[in-house]
């Protein structure tokens, strides 16, 4: 670490952002806050690549014929969209950006338990990203983000190995992040900060980290097996060589289904933070919300076979996986119920983060309920590999995870940068994103139910009207995502100073200055009350609770 110099400009505090401006002080930083910023910039970059692929796909789908791109190119586009969005945006989004920044602040620690591993995880992420980008530049991958064998391992003539290596390396970045969170939450909580006083964001990231460390290695070894099969032509998963392609699907989804919860659990954590703050109420049923996170993480590991209903898995196996899949609805339902109950009789302020959160609750509910449709084998057989599935998981991943990421970003932006963005712009783009999202994906439910298959660049003419609607929605959504990029950057230069606690929120992160100093707190804070004590804050009129 570089030394902390005296503040050079008069009257300005030394913060984690301005204690040194050298490039080296960023690239070799061990400060969790700076690493979070590095992650934020990186995932925004990958989001734009994945987004560009989506734009091209939606343009192609404006007309029933394949006219903009070739079929092969289209295959590469949706693969690149999936790989970039899943592995290089959604999975690291809330954990690696907001989690990295906030967990030490929320538990009242100076840093994560292993700062060097934290930096290493960012480098691994970037190296993995470079491999994935290299596969794109070299000519792309056409297998879909799921890399199903034996197509990926034997027949595909694209750069599968490069992409697989990228995801393999990226996996270790996730593992290191998860490891750091688990250890930090276990061992570095401030005095008085018991488990049941922890912000629910920490609980949900703890649950996420469990999936990181217990699921990711299985994906890693599976990708090794695919690579070996592809390079040495040994039939691990190729039926013509004695292997079983369904085994690949088992191993792949053992990680990749829980990965859905990697995306949505942190989102749930964000929602719990934001919804309490903008309802000025304590969370309804703290323990239920906390344990439902852990329950989702554990149950999430028991349901992967619902991706294999039509793959040739045994019917008994399918039945068991179907029943188990329904069970995930219980803790998810508990959460939605508790958030709604938190809103009840709260003094609700519809500020930007809250708008995103309310959007999350509605869209997540639709995504979750359609999840029950596809958990039933009979319905799933009908809609497998149609746009119904696309719509369902985008309601969870975009309507859920990205909405929550935006909520979190707007909620903690003043903390991270010390600046306020334009509230009106924020509300406007939240609305734009909500409308654009529904316009994009709701027609896809209908398309899928009518039988339009996914992953084709051309389709039957009767599907055109709904596809045009969807593409129009995508352009609205695109504008909705570009606006925050602009006004958030704008706020860095021209935004008003935020002060330590602009939203009058509880939680240790709001008790230090914005942006926080390198060591987070002047002295280790002591906690003597529950999380979300908004009722107390409202009664005493205490805006910045002191310790």
């Amino acid at each position: 670490m570089t030394t902390v110099p005296y503040s050079s400009s008069l009257g300005r505090e030394t913060t984690y952002l301005n204690h040194s401006h050298k490039i080296r002080s960023w690239l070799l930083t061990l400060d969790h806050k700076r690493i979070a910023i590095l992650y934020m910039i990186s995932i925004t970059f990958f989001f734009m690549i994945g987004g560009a692929a989506a734009v091209l796909m939606r343009l192609e789908l404006m007309t029933p014929q394949g006219d903009l791109v070739k079929a092969e190119t289209y295959n590469k586009l949706f693969t690149m969209h999936g790989v970039m969005m899943v592995f290089f945006f959604l999975i690291p989004s809330i954990p690696a950006v907001l989690g990295n920044f906030l967990i030490p602040l929320m538990v009242g620690a100076k840093d994560l338990a292993f700062p060097r591993l934290n930096l290493a995880s960012w480098y691994l992420f970037m190296i993995g990203g470079l491999f994935a980008l290299a596969s794109l530049v070299a000519g792309g991958v056409d297998t879909g983000w799921t890399f199903y064998t034996p197509y990926s391992s034997t027949y595909s003539n694209s750069y599968v190995v490069l992409a697989v290596v990228g995801i393999f390396i990226n996996g270790f970045s996730s593992i290191l992040t998860g490891l750091n969170f688990i250890v930090t939450i276990h061992t570095m909580r401030a005095p008085g900060l018991t488990w049941f006083r922890l912000p629910l964001f920490c609980w949900s990231l703890y649950a996420t980290s469990l999936i990181f460390i217990l699921g990711t290695p299985v994906l890693a070894i599976t990708l090794v097996l695919v690579g070996v099969e592809r390079i040495f032509h040994i039939g691990v998963f190729d039926p013509s060589l004695g292997g079983d392609p369904i085994l690949f699907q088992h191993l792949f989804w053992f990680y990749s289904h829980p990965a859905v919860y990697i995306m949505v659990l942190p989102s749930m954590g964000v929602v719990s933070e934001v919804i309490t703050c903008f309802s000025r109420k304590r969370i309804f049923g703290y323990a239920f919300v906390a344990f439902s996170s852990v329950a989702i993480a554990v149950l999430g590991f028991l349901v992967w076979g619902h991706h294999l209903f039509v793959s040739g898995q045994s019917i008994y196996g399918g039945l068991i996986f179907s029943i188990l899949s329904f069970m995930v609805a219980i803790p998810s339902g508990v959460k939605v119920f508790n958030w709604t109950a938190t809103l009840y009789k709260g003094s609700i302020a519809l500020q930007t983060p809250m708008l995103y959160c309310l959007g999350f609750i509605g869209l997540f509910t639709i995504g979750g309920l359609t999840g029950l449709y596809v958990a039933s084998i009979a319905v799933d057989v009908h809609v497998t590999d149609t746009y119904f599935i696309i719509a369902h998981f985008h309601y969870i991943m975009v309507g859920g995870a990205v909405m929550a990421y935006m909520a979190g970003l707007h909620f903690w932006w003043p903390k991270m940068t010390g600046k306020m963005y334009s509230e009106w712009m924020g509300r406007f783009s939240a609305l734009l994103i909500f409308v654009g999202f529904n316009l994009t994906f709701f027609p896809q439910f209908i398309l899928g139910y009518l039988g339009m298959p996914r992953r084709y660049y051309a389709y039957a003419p009767e599907f055109q009207a709904l596809n045009v609607l969807s593409s129009a929605g995508a352009s609205v959504l695109g504008v909705g995502y570009l606006l925050p990029l602009l006004y958030l950057l704008w706020s860095l230069r021209w935004g008003k100073n935020a002060g330590p606690n602009p939203f009058r929120a509880t939680g240790l992160e709001w008790k230090t200055s914005s942006p926080p100093p390198t060591e987070n707190f002047e002295k280790t804070p002591i906690v003597n009350e529950e999380a979300y004590a908004y009722h107390r804050m409202e009664m005493t009129g205490d805006t910045v609770a002191t310790h």
Partner: protein, 128 residues
């Protein structure tokens, strides 16, 4: 450090000797026993004992906090989940209900309207 339990070199030596004896026993069992099934379970059983000795003493889990137990245990619980639900599929492949739905054409379930209702079998089971 006061909070850490230090295992004596003597105990380590005892465990090491036990491990070596068990190694000899594994090989002996492999050469001695007739039944293949028994030999496999014997060899794996010994492996489990050896692993437990290493984990409990060399890795001093026996003297560690409950949290260490939980994490060491969680790894194996998750391994069990992976095996149990994977084999839940493999051990029930091709059993009766699956036959009912077995696809007659190219692996895809094809629902056809009967051309001649009299000749259409009442159940897919009779198809070939």
């Amino acid at each position: 450090m006061s909070s850490q339990h230090v295992i004596s070199a003597k105990l380590y030596t005892v465990i090491y000797i036990l491990l070596m004896v068990l190694l000899v026993v594994t090989v002996g069992g492999d050469l001695m026993f007739e039944s293949a099934m028994f030999r496999t379970s014997f060899a794996l059983g010994i492996a489990v004992i050896k692993a437990l000795l290493v984990v409990l003493f060399f890795m001093h889990v026996r003297y560690s906090s409950r949290l260490t137990w939980v994490f060491a245990g969680a790894a194996f619980v998750w391994l069990f989940i992976l095996f149990a639900l994977t084999f839940n599929d493999y051990f029930t492949r091709g059993t009766a209900p699956e036959r009912l739905f077995e696809a007659p054409v190219g692996g895809i379930v094809v629902r056809q309207t009967p051309v001649n209702p009299e000749h259409e079998p009442s159940s897919v089971m009779q198809r070939h």
